[in-house]
Structure formats: structure tokens, C-alpha cells
């Protein structure tokens, strides 16, 4: 903000005001300092409350059941124990679901990027004939959709993809919104680079692979993360399309362990029945932690890129 540089006084509406005094005064008055203190406190409190549930769950996943039921609120348990983690990793259900989620996320993201890039690149070329109608087609689809039921009928009765991972991955292969941003990025690449590639004997495909894609790595990383987080977090399409519980991703397993089990309180039958009765509450916490860890690992990158992505969208929109 304005530096404390003495400025000549100015005459406003007959009132003599010294500019620098005004500038400093805005922040130095009693009311202003009080406002700052309260503002910093409230924002600080809000951000702590935001992460507190997560920190509590992490701490509680290492606690004994006794401590969980007797101590009110704590972050670091007195008795740190790995029992909950030992228990959940003893049965292969969680490991399998974790593997399924990784498989869906990796394959899904590769398919997303392939479809997004192969479509965005041609329509980023203004000289391409037939580009207009294709763009219109994409934009209309951003505003109208057939809704849940026609989409479900298409995937399950017409394409007969029910029970396969294709049913989860294919219907969301391209996000029109992401694709348009990638297209805009491709349009920003200097035309001369591609022209010189053509002179060196490249065709459109080799230009894309050798020149354009290496230049687009940050963008591809951003949208790869966009898509990957979406895959990792989704449960709904897995729930309606998957028929074999051995194929369930982690989010769906989490749902059955915690949300559905709550109705039949403490029902842990989904876990290995031969195991000794473990601390039920901390097991749930541990499963939540395992499902959240991958997101937390990429969070620093997410924050950096996602904020930029939303900003781009906000400015364009």
C-alpha cells in the first residue's frame, strides 16, 4: 500500500487534508487496529476449524478405543498404536480396493488426456475446415444434457458396459470445459514453431508429439491432476455400474464400511471375520486416512494449479 511519503496537502471541498496522514491513518486508528486483530483472529479460527476434523481423524486413527471413548478432544493420543492399521491391512479387501482405485485413476486419466489432447489440437487450428460445427457441438453440450437416466440407459442397456470399468471411465472421457482451456493453450503456442517443424518434414501428428506436447507439459500435468482427483474421489458411477464387489474402488468400500455399517451399528463383517474384535472407531478413522492420503500427497500441486485453473475460468467466463 501507499508508503509514508510526505505529500503536499491537497484542498478537497474546502477541507485541507494531508494525503500521507490519511493513508497511514486508515490503518493506524484505534478502530482499524481492533478490526485487524478481530479479522486475523476470525480468519485464523476459520482455517483451523477447516482442517481440525481431518487432523482429529488422523490422530484418532492411532489411538486406542479406550482413549477415544474417554478423552474429549485430542490431537496426539497418549498411547500411540498401529492396531487399526494392522487390522485394516490384514484383510486384503482394503488393499484390493486401493488397487482398484489406483487402476481406475491411472487408466481413466490416461484416457482423459488422450481424448482431450487429440480433440483439442485439431480444433485449435483456425484453418481446419469443419471446425466451427464441432466447436458448436461441444459448447451446446456444456449447457444441455440428457440427464441421469438416459445416460444410465445408454451405458447399461445400449452399450452394455455394466460391470466393467469402461462404464466408469468412458462416459466422462472428456470434460468439455477442460478441453476448451487446453485448446486455448494450444492456440497460444507460436505458429512459427509448428511451421518450421512442417518444413523439417513433420506431419500434423509428429508435430503434435515432438513439438507441441513437450511444450504443453505443465498444462497436461494440470489437467491430469484435475482428472485424476475426479476419478479418485468419485463413487457414484462405480456404485450404479459395478456389479462385482471385488471390483469396488476405495470410495465405495469406505461407504459400505462407515456409512452403511452405521445403520447396523458396529457391523464390521466387511472386514476379516477371523480377526480379534478391534477398536471399531479407530478403524474407521484409519480407513478414512488411507483414502485421503493420496489426495494430501498431491495437494501442494493441486493448490498451485487448481487455483490458476479456476482463475483462468473466472477471467474467461
Amino acid at each position: 500500500m501507499a508508503k509514508e511519503k510526505p505529500v503536499n496537502s491537497v484542498n478537497l471541498n474546502g477541507k485541507k487534508v494531508v494525503a500521507h496522514e490519511g493513508a497511514v491513518g486508515v490503518y493506524n486508528s484505534k478502530g482499524s487496529i481492533l478490526f485487524d486483530v478481530i479479522n486475523y483472529l476470525i480468519v485464523g479460527l476459520a482455517s483451523i476449524t477447516t482442517v481440525l476434523p481431518l487432523i482429529y481423524v488422523i490422530g484418532a486413527s492411532f489411538a486406542t478405543e479406550f482413549e477415544l471413548q474417554t478423552r474429549p478432544m485430542f490431537i496426539i493420543p497418549h498411547d500411540v498404536t498401529l492396531d487399526a492399521y494392522k487390522y485394516i491391512f490384514a484383510s486384503n479387501k482394503l488393499i484390493r480396493a486401493f488397487g482398484n482405485s489406483v487402476l481406475i485413476t491411472v487408466c481413466g486419466t490416461i484416457i482423459n488426456l488422450f481424448f482431450t489432447v487429440t480433440m483439442a489440437y485439431p480444433i485449435s487450428k483456425k484453418y481446419l475446415k469443419g471446425r466451427g460445427p464441432i466447436l458448436t457441438m461441444v459448447i451446446i453440450s456444456m449447457f444441455f444434457s440428457g440427464g441421469m437416466i438416459p445416460g444410465y440407459i445408454l451405458v447399461s442397456s445400449i452399450l452394455k458396459l455394466r460391470g466393467t470399468y469402461w462404464a466408469i471411465i468412458l462416459p466422462g472421457a472428456i470434460s468439455a470445459y477442460n478441453m476448451m482451456i487446453v485448446k486455448n493453450f494450444f492456440q497460444g503456442i507460436p505458429q512459427e514453431l509448428e511451421e518450421s517443424a512442417y518444413l523439417d518434414g513433420c506431419n500434423d501428428l509428429t508435430t503434435l508429439v515432438r513439438i507441441v506436447l513437450p511444450l504443453s507439459l505443465p498444462v497436461l500435468a494440470t489437467f491430469g491432476l484435475f482428472y485424476a482427483v475426479g476419478h479418485w474421489n468419485s463413487y457414484f458411477s462405480a456404485m450404479i455400474y459395478l456389479t462385482d464387489s471385488r471390483m469396488y474402488p476405495l470410495q465405495l468400500l469406505l461407504r459400505s464400511i462407515i456409512v452403511q455399517a452405521e445403520a447396523s451399528a458396529g457391523d464390521m463383517s466387511l472386514m476379516d471375520p477371523n480377526f480379534v474384535e478391534p477398536p471399531a472407531q479407530s478403524i474407521k478413522m484409519a480407513v478414512i486416512v488411507v483414502a485421503t492420503v493420496p489426495i494430501m500427497c498431491v495437494y501442494p500441486f493441486l493448490q498451485k494449479y487448481f487455483v490458476k485453473g479456476v482463475m483462468v475460468g473466472a477471467l474467461k467466463g
Binding site: M1, L12, K15, V17, A19, G25, V26, F35, D36, Y40, A46, S47, T50, V51, P53, L54, V57, A60, P72, Y121, P122, K126, L128, K129, G132, I134, M137, I139, S141, F144, S145, G146, G147, M148, I149, G151, Y152, I153, L154, I158, L170, D204, N233, Y235, F236, L254, I258, V259, E262, A280, Q281, K284, I288, A291, T292, I295, Y299, V310, M311, A314
Partner: protein
């Protein structure tokens, strides 16, 4: 979105070369287009055409073309059922969340904007954005383990109130839980769009106001708020357009036998009748009704925004 909508109107390359020579010249570009175009036709446009089943008695065996045409039967059927329950549940939840969750990111963004220590701002923002990336299943799971009977708050409430508080089953608390989850998950993230709008405020205005002797409250009221007013109106128009969308992913997870009377919204109804009970045509008809109301709401609120002298959505 606006710039994207204009792109197709841009002039294409002039010249008489026929489509055939054009394709052979850029063969690879056209080959690359195939997967994407097929995707949009199959997964976006076929379902749009599939809306006709709302006017049919769709039987998977006979297919869309072979099923019997029933006209507006399903719409009449819906209005003979206890449709008002679904509508009331939807509207109450929606307006509760508009009143409570819509202003939250605006207030938070204004508060963040007043923080002058960049380090502190960055730190708090980093923390505030976290829940946005957490899946709804995990959000609901955390709610269950904390608010459940043996959870932290569940036990605490039982001690304070002297009796068990059924946070997860009590119909009176259901909507508060849903709104609370949304506030927790999206308030921080929602600030981004307003913070972006705030960066566009002309700093000269602040300097001028200082010279005029405006205090911070006056600056907030006369400069900052007017600067983001059009963004607020735009977001409100969009939000009103989705007033009938309560979403179903979160509600399905939070719904149970005890809170049925309030958790049944139109979205949940479409999911239950369409996917769980295979009443495809009925569910599509209700879904179509919802989309029509959404369009009317967007056009209506946009009109109101225009009347108030705002730019609105279009």
C-alpha cells in the same frame, strides 16, 4: 465461456479448396478428431435424444424406438403422486443453502482481502482450500465418525443435553447437517472467484478515498463491495438456476430410514425411481420437468438482474 461461444463465428480460411483436398492435406488432424467427436455424439448427444423416453413407456427389451408412446402420462402420474413432498424438501433445502452458504465465501473473501500480511494470507488460504479436494464419501464418513453416537460430538452432546442427540437420523437436524457439510467443504474454495474479482479493483480508488478521509468500513462499503457486485449477481443467477438441484451424491449418503421425510428431494427421487426401481420413463419425465424449471429460473433471475442494472449472465 463467453469467448468460447464466440469462436465458431470467426471467419474460416477463405479459398476454394474442396473438403476432399483439405482432408488429405490435414489427414492426421481429421483422424485425431475421430475419438473426440464420437465421444460427444455417443455420450452427450445420444442421451439428449434419449429424453424422448419421458413420453414413452420405455421397456429396455423393446428399446427406445419400440416402446409405446404415452404422451404426458408420466407427468400427470407425477402430479397425482405426493409430488409436493419432494418439491418442498427440495426448495427448503435449496433456499436454506442459498441463504447460508451463498454469502459465506463472499464474507470470507472480503476478510481475506483485508489481510495485509501476505504470509498469513497464504497460510490461511492453504488450509481453507483443503476440504474442496476431499471426496464427498470422506466428508460424510468424517461426519459419521464425529457426530455418530460414539463419536466425539455425539458423546459431547449426550453429556451436555443429558440425552442422546441423533445428529444423523433426526429429521430436524438433517438439513443443518447437509448445509454444514457444504459450508465446511466449499466456503474456502468459493472465495477464489471473489478474490479474483477483487484483484480487478482499481487501487487508485482506494488512494483517492484515503485522501477523502474514508475509513476502512466506508472503503469496504463504497469501493470493494461495488467492485465485486457484478460477480456476486452472476453467481446468484447461476445459483438460482440450480435451485431444484440438491445433488444426489451427498444426499444418498446422508439419507437413512429415519430422515426419509426430509431427505427425499427431486434429485434423490430421480435416482431412486430411475436407477433403483428401474422406472426409467417416470424418472426421465421428472428429470425433464426439473430442467425446464431450471431454464425458466435462469431466464427469470437474469431478467431481474437486468432490471437492477446488472449485466447478469448474458
Amino acid at each position: 465461456m463467453d469467448s468460447a461461444a464466440k469462436t465458431p463465428a470467426k471467419p474460416r480460411k477463405k479459398g476454394g479448396s474442396s473438403l476432399g483436398t483439405e482432408i488429405s492435406k490435414h489427414l492426421w488432424l481429421y483422424i485425431m478428431l475421430i475419438p473426440g467427436v464420437l465421444y460427444f455424439i455417443i455420450f452427450k448427444y445420444l442421451p439428449m435424444g434419449g429424453i424422448v423416453i419421458a413420453f414413452e413407456n420405455y421397456v429396455p427389451f423393446s428399446g427406445i424406438t419400440g416402446s409405446k408412446w404415452v404422451g404426458l402420462y408420466w407427468f400427470q402420474f407425477f402430479f397425482k403422486s405426493n409430488w409436493s413432498l419432494y418439491l418442498v424438501n427440495t426448495l427448503v433445502l435449496s433456499f436454506m443453502s442459498i441463504i447460508l452458504t451463498f454469502p459465506a465465501p463472499i464474507i470470507l473473501a472480503l476478510m481475506l482481502n483485508e489481510i495485509r500480511s501476505l504470509k498469513y494470507k497464504k497460510l490461511t488460504q492453504t488450509l481453507l482450500y483443503v476440504p474442496h479436494f476431499i471426496s464427498i464419501v470422506i466428508v460424510v464418513s468424517i461426519t459419521y465418525v464425529i457426530f455418530g453416537a460414539s463419536g466425539l460430538i455425539g458423546r459431547f452432546a449426550a453429556q451436555v443435553m443429558g440425552h442422546k442427540v441423533d445428529f444423523l437420523g433426526d429429521p430436524k437436524l438433517f438439513r443443518w447437517m447437509i448445509v454444514g457439510q457444504n459450508i465446511w467443504k466449499e466456503t474456502g474454495w468459493g472465495t477464489i472467484i471473489f478474490l479474483a474479482a477483487l484483484t480487478n479493483v482499481d487501487t487508485q480508488l482506494y488512494e483517492a478515498s484515503m485522501i477523502d478521509g474514508a475509513n476502512r468500513a466506508q472503503r469496504l462499503w463504497h469501493i470493494t463491495l461495488p467492485a465485486i457486485r457484478s460477480t456476486i449477481v452472476l453467481m446468484l443467477v447461476l445459483r438460482m438456476g440450480s435451485v431444484l438441484d440438491t445433488g444426489y451424491e451427498q444426499l444418498i449418503l446422508m439419507a437413512n430410514a429415519k430422515n426419509r421425510s426430509v431427505s427425499q428431494t427431486l434429485d434423490v427421487f430421480v435416482y431412486q425411481s430411475g436407477i433403483q426401481n428401474s422406472q426409467y420413463s417416470y424418472a426421465s419425465a421428472v428429470g425433464l420437468l426439473k430442467s425446464i424449471v431450471s431454464v425458466v429460473m435462469v431466464v427469470g433471475t437474469n431478467k431481474i438482474a437486468h432490471m437492477l442494472g446488472e449485466e447478469g449472465l448474458y
